[in-house]
Symmetry: C2
Subunit: 191 residues, 2 copies
């Protein structure tokens, strides 16, 4: 059995390598540059090896997205727990979210822009995604006011996503991001 276990370990390690390499390549040159050939070359295996781990490119994007979801949740929780008072925590959450999107554009794309074959907002939604939403919910519930916490969180999230998405694709000038953020926080959140 030890032999089989070793093989499984090696296989798992290679899978992590694939995901890490795809993510790295995407952050460096964008997702368009992440082709199965280039990815295979970078991990020093042939193309078909990728398909013994993932059904296709879409699933690789999905794997990067799940990794990103975990990190996003952690980033949001770290930021909110370091702030005092509901209002300050919401502002910290918003900044942490936009900061994550700016620092990890490819991961953000994998999560919220591209098709990674993941189910969102359903029963079979992967745990990391549920948890990332939960991280938002924890802080935003306190400022939902008379709105349903889940619905409020969805709406607040959508506003943040709109800012992140439009800014990153050059549709909004990046200069006034902070002011837009403060506008969203101050108006959407009930004190």
């Amino acid at each position: 059995m030890s032999v089989q276990e070793r093989k499984e370990r090696e296989r798992a390690a290679r899978e992590r390598l694939i995901v890490a390499t795809a993510r790295e390549l995407a952050e460096q040159q964008g997702w368009d540059a992440v082709t199965t050939r280039r990815l295979a070359e970078r991990i020093e295996y042939s193309q078909p090896v990728l398909y013994s781990h993932f059904r296709g490119k879409r699933e690789i994007i999905g794997a990067v997205a799940l990794q990103g979801a975990t990190e996003l949740a952690a980033a949001v929780r770290a930021a909110t727990s370091a702030a005092d008072g509901p209002r300050a925590r919401v502002a910290a959450l918003a900044r942490a979210y936009l900061d994550f999107a700016e620092r990890n554009p490819a991961v953000y794309d994998a999560l919220f822009e591209l098709d990674g074959g993941l189910a969102y907002a359903q029963e079979d939604t992967p745990e990391p995604l549920k948890d990332a939403f939960a991280a938002l919910l924890e802080t935003l519930t306190d400022v939902a006011g008379d709105a349903h916490p889940g619905l409020f969180t969805e709406t607040f999230w959508a506003a943040l996503h709109g800012l992140a998405s439009l800014t990153r694709t050059g549709r909004l000038p990046p200069a006034d991001t902070e002011q837009r953020l403060e506008l969203i926080v101050s108006r959407l959140a009930t004190t």
Copy 2:
């Protein structure tokens, strides 16, 4: 000269045909299905003809986007002008925007999701895009409160785009769209 003019007319007509066909194909089967071969076949010309009108596929997407911007501006203006009072006009604007995104998903993608090679929020931004933003600005200025009208419009637009984008890609359940919309309108707009 008449001959040349006729040729120019025919050429312009063919260009409109290309754009209309690309849009139609995109709405029917998504932008991925809009390949230069399929597009060429539908307009009953060979592929290279496309490149005598547009630099490449990106520019075709851009042409569809510009068409969509004009229609979006018209839709927003029609909706807002039919409502009484600033608050009702804002709600009408938001509904018209989301309605446009839902009815014309491919056009919406061309405008705000894909790369059509257009400049946004700059001096050399095409007129239809500027005008679409102006259509939002006209109504939203009245409810900007103490915020700068332009900045407020950008922020409100981002919130709407977030809703449209996340809903259309299956990241938000479509059921409660109306409630999220009302939340945005009631909290972002000052009465």
